[in-house]
Amino acid sequence: MLKIDQLEAGYGKVHVLHSISLHVPKGQVVTLIGSNGAGKTTTMRAISGMIKPTAGEITLNGRSIHGLESNQIAKLGIAHSPEGRRVFASMSVTDNLLLGAFPRLTGARPRGDVNADLEKAMELFPRLKERRQQLAGTLSGGEQQMLAMARAVMLNPDVILLDEPSMGLAPILVEEVFKIIARLKQEGMTMLLVEQFAAAALNVADYGYVLENGRISVHGPAHQLKTDPAVAASYLGGASSH
């Protein structure tokens, strides 16, 4: 469904990604893990159009999305729950969710039943249900993460990009977030998950890629990567024992 081929990208002089290739098949959860500065978020931003790649190809269902603007890419069916959540702070939870469905409400995507989907989102994220009218800026970190993810779901997308959903969250909330990711997976949602926390990510994913210094160092089925010492090495430099 989503294919990245020999992607190169960076910020001005800093060349971050060196010839990345990865594939997210329909209905699967693929995770991109690696330590900080490895380039995970850069990859996400390149996919959703926040930065323009300098080389390589990105295709969605065979259609190239290389060089398109973020809003065009969203209309094509890629929803991005960005790093740092980035909810619309001065607006209510409901309004944030409605904005997630913006292309549907304005005709750029098939409309479907937006209100029904809104209720469904509330079921999936019960914390949000209790806080419909609350301003997003006053939600806690965990609740904002739920909101960002729910907002992405509201697009009725083909693929969801989840960028570091666990960042800044206490372990108990991280658990909750990953439970929800597992549920979305059950519903057949295709997802690309970028995570710093390799363990949780590999638990929920089907396939994994390890990014190190802008290159894919290891990749394989998630359950294999879970026990691969190379993964730990790429994080903590050298052997992490016991």
């Binding site: 926040m50 969203a74 960005p82 980035r86 909810v87 619309f88 702070a89 001065s90 409400l105």
Partner: protein, 292 residues
């Protein structure tokens, strides 16, 4: 005492005009971090176009209002396209400051050539005889200005809160990049904010024209003083700019009467200097947490 009350009424009407222009500044600054240095000229054009429609064209004043509004929309979009968008692309703050100034100068010069350099009288659509309110005189037109300005701002608030497009605008103001991820075309939103901003100024122009002398120079200092009001008001507070506008308007009418008309522009300008000295950027700008 009667005179003071009268001055207060006039001051409130004047203040509402400042508030409406200030509102326009807020609209564009919120979504794009830029503003139109020629905002005063947008008001002036609204007044003069309205004058031509009503005086020369014989159009009914009430019909002329939406026409002037439409004109404002187009003028605002033009300013954005020509002056602001290229500068945003170049990431040049200096660029949009200078180009909106340049456009303002051009509009003023064109107005001078079309309508002449003298101030003109705008025929009042309402009865010119004053009404007595709490013992002092107030012109029906002044009441119209106050009502019209409030109505306009309320309408825009309604738009922002209730329609999906309005919400898209607020989303752009909250987080431009995230708004794009939602499929919102933020460039269009910015163009729209400019169009709306000029429309409100033009609308203010045709409202205030019957109360004052209409001419090519009427916009310049207005724009500057409205900026002070915009800063006091803060980014999201419509109430703030109404209060600030009223305070300024009343200060001006009282200064003009009790001290001298020559000095009447001074309180506004001094206010601007004071406000910026005491509470810079923090009121108007988004939270100034520097990311290094």
């Amino acid at each position: 005492m009667e005179i003071l009350l009268q001055l207060i009424y006039s001051g409130i009407a004047l203040g509402m005009i400042y508030a409406v222009i200030a509102f326009g500044y807020q609209l564009t600054f919120a979504t794009s971090d830029t503003l139109n240095f020629g905002q005063g000229e947008a008001l002036m054009l609204g007044a003069l176009v309205g004058l031509s429609l009503v005086d020369t064209g014989g159009m009914n004043y009430w019909l002329a209002i939406p026409v002037v509004g439409a004109f404002g929309l187009i003028q605002g979009a033009l300013v954005e396209r020509v002056g602001v968008r290229p500068a945003i692309k170049l990431k040049s703050e200096f660029g949009w400051i200078m180009s909106t100034i340049a456009l303002g100068i051009i509009f003023k010069n064109v107005a001078e050539n079309i309508w002449g350099r003298d101030d003109l009288r705008f025929p009042s659509p309402l009865d010119e005889s004053p009404i007595k309110l709490f013992g002092a005189n107030v012109l029906p037109m002044e009441l119209l200005v106050i009502g019209g300005a409030l109505l306009m701002m309320l309408l825009i608030e309604f738009f922002n809160r209730k329609t999906i497009f309005g919400k898209a605008v607020v989303a752009t103001f909250n987080d431009r990049e995230a708004a794009r991820l939602m499929g919102i075309n933020t460039s269009l939103v910015i163009t729209f904010s400019y169009a709306l901003s000029s429309m409100t100024a033009a609308f203010a122009g045709i409202l205030v024209a019957p109360l004052t002398l209409t001419g090519a120079t009427m916009g310049s200092v207005l724009g500057l003083k409205a900026f002070a009001v915009a800063i006091i008001g803060g980014l999201t507070s419509g109430l703030g700019i109404v209060v600030g506008g009223i305070l300024l308007g009343v200060a001006e009418t009282t200064t003009g009467f009790y001290i001298s008309t020559g000095y009447k522009d001074v309180p506004g300008l001094v206010l601007l200097l004071l406000v910026l000295a005491v509470r810079p950027a923090g009121l108007f700008g988004k939270s100034a947490i520097k990311k290094v």
